[in-house]
């Protein structure tokens, strides 16, 4: 098995470091209390508040750490749900074909016809703005592409000789799917899951930016960016802190996804979104 290349590995390392930092900050209170008012309002970055203070005089650093945790966790939960549903639907549709395949693919086509933020807005209209709305939006936005790709992979695998021979030797459906199809689409799921995670963080950011996702006082990267935009001309660091973390997180996930994809098959190219 080929190893991940340097760029992809640095992405993975950065992402893990970010997660560790957020968890450590959560457990030990590193970086300070996100709720505590520590100094003057809208103070520029300094030794006591590395990323400056916000409109209430709270230090931005612990809020960014907290917000990063919320954004990552929320997107991860959503992507996990997407992965389970999309894999189940994709594998069944790809392997079984027929009416099931038709129904799944038509529904996926319909969901796929909504640009991500537009679909998220529709969900936010139905569910009151908040964590649920953000998670539901990410799931609905990421399901169509993942289901399509998994289905295509399952379809290819289901025509392989070893699958035919398993069927001939009397293997039942769960065994064929579990032993032969699933392991062979797992790589595809991993690659798509990585891309879905970056889309999830993007969508959460956009939704919260428009005031339709996570609601203040709860912090998420999108909420912090939205707050930063309000005081942009006086305190640009309020946008820069969470903005840079968000961009680096998405970038590292994307290069990790690229690396996984190249490792899986150096020639096929399914790019982001």
């Amino acid at each position: 098995m080929k190893r991940l290349d340097g760029i992809a590995r640095s992405g993975l390392v950065f992402l893990l470091a970010l997660v560790v930092l957020v968890v450590v900050a959560q457990v030990t209170g590193l970086g300070g209390d996100p709720e505590k008012i520590v100094g003057p309002r809208l103070a520029p970055p300094g030794p006591e508040w590395w990323l400056g203070t916000d409109s209430l005089g709270r230090s931005t650093l612990p809020r960014v750490l907290q917000g990063t945790g919320t954004s990552l966790l929320l997107s991860a939960v959503a992507v996990l749900a997407t992965a389970v549903v999309a894999t189940a639907l994709g594998v069944l549709a790809g392997y079984q074909g027929g009416a099931l395949n038709e129904i799944v693919m038509r529904v996926v086509d319909v969901l796929y016809s909504f640009p991500a933020i537009i679909l998220a807005i529709l969900v936010a209209a139905l569910v009151n703005p908040g964590l649920d709305a953000a998670v539901a939006s990410i799931v609905l936005v990421t399901i169509p592409l993942m289901t399509r790709v998994v289905r295509a992979a399952a379809l290819t695998v289901s025509h392989r000789d070893y699958v035919t021979s398993a069927i001939i030797s009397g293997a039942r459906l769960p065994r064929v799917l579990g032993r032969h199809i699933l392991p062979n689409v797992a790589g595809t799921v991993a690659v798509q899951g990585t891309y879905a995670l970056s889309i999830g963080i993007l969508v959460e950011g956009g939704l919260s930016f428009l005031g339709l996702g996570v609601q203040p006082p709860q912090a998420s990267l999108g909420v912090l960016i939205s707050e930063g935009t309000v005081y942009l001309t006086y305190a640009p660091w309020l946008l820069l802190g969470p903005g840079v973390v968000l961009v680096l997180a998405i970038l590292s996930i994307n290069v990790l996804g690229d690396g996984l994809r190249d490792q899986l098959d150096p020639r096929t190219s399914r790019s982001l979104t």
């Binding site: 529904v107 086509d109 319909v110 016809s113 537009i118 807005i121 903005g243 790019s271």
Partner: protein
């Protein structure tokens, strides 16, 4: 004949998808918490008022009749009235559509051209360092959300006099120079993603073609690199690059929402965002349907073009 069958199939499936989209939006609006009468009249209305409103909007009719009625009027260009201002939604959408169209065209056309050129350059580069740099740069480009880039652009251009105005939109017909000064910045913010997404796809497409045996043949025949790119690579790589147009459209339709909101442009996107914070569902419903319909239409056109370019498509089926 092949093209005819292919086009007919594609048209049919686009119509089917649009039907599904309309059912989904209709269903979503029916599931709205509180029901239509409460949304329109507020929580304090008397039961008689609610009953009267429900009856007058035909909400007691069978659900299929309601759906048919909605579709019929929507296709006739009537999206009902705003629940907040009571103005016809279609008129407002019509007056805002040019802003959004200008914004998307100003970012899409230069963005796709620059992105395609960059993608080819990255792909044909020999040096591993240049390639790695190109890979990181194009990955970075698609990782820069418009709400971050836009915010930084707003800060830089409003803090320092750099020539472009932030906000202050006027219609192009009134004052072209002021209009362009106000539109270049938001369009550039959107173009960041368009350039990177196109560059990434073009790079992958060109690299895939470069692995084909006929390229090896051309090289061994002693053809010059530029002639190989022009005659063998570009044609074959054109299809994935064309397909990226659909990704770009989806992005622009959503990105326009955020950029219009950020730069205070009176487009369709800011209208829908405003509507959703005011719970103006008539507007949300129309805006979402319009966006989805535009996206389905672009996808269909892209597929039809691919069908024209690629003679293999539609034969095996």
């Amino acid at each position: 004949m092949r093209l005819f069958v292919w086009s007919a199939t594609r048209l049919f499936s686009a119509a089917l998808t649009l039907l599904g989209v309309s059912i989904l939006i209709f269903g979503a609006m029916r599931l709205m918490p509180g029901g239509y009468a409460t949304i329109v009249l507020g929580p304090l209305a008397s039961p008689e008022q609610r009953a009267e409103l429900t009856a007058s909007f035909g909400l007691n009719d069978p659900i299929l009749v309601q759906y048919a009625h909605w579709i019929q009027t929507a296709f006739g260009g009537d999206f009902g009235r705003s629940l907040v201002s009571n103005d016809p939604v279609a008129a407002e959408l019509g007056s805002r559509l040019p802003v959004t169209l200008q914004l998307t065209l100003m970012s899409a056309i230069p963005g796709v051209l620059i992105g395609a050129a960059l993608g080819i350059l990255i792909a044909v580069r020999r040096g591993t360092r240049g390639r790695a740099l190109g890979r990181i740069a194009s990955a970075l480009g698609v990782s820069l959300p418009e709400y971050v880039v836009g915010g930084i652009a707003v800060y830089l251009f409003s803090r320092y006099a750099l020539g472009l105005t932030v906000g202050g939109y006027v219609p192009f017909g009134e004052d072209p120079a002021t209009n362009l000064a106000a539109m270049v910045l938001p369009a550039s913010v959107l173009a960041v993603f368009v350039v990177s997404a196109t560059a990434r796809t073009t790079r992958d497409a060109v690299l895939n073609v470069l692995h084909e045996p006929y390229i090896t043949t051309a090289v061994s025949r002693g053809q010059s690199p530029w002639s190989i790119v022009r005659h063998h690579v570009l044609r074959n790589a054109a299809i994935p690059v064309l397909v990226v147009a659909s990704t770009v459209t989806a992005y622009l339709l959503g990105g326009a929402v955020i950029v219009e909101y950020l730069f205070n442009l009176p487009g369709v996107g800011s209208y829908v965002v405003q509507a959703i914070t005011r719970r103006d569902y008539a507007v949300v419903q129309a805006g979402v349907l319009l966006a989805a319909a535009l996206f389905i239409f672009t996808n269909m056109v892209v597929d039809l073009l691919v069908g024209v370019i690629d003679p293999r498509l539609g034969v095996s089926k």
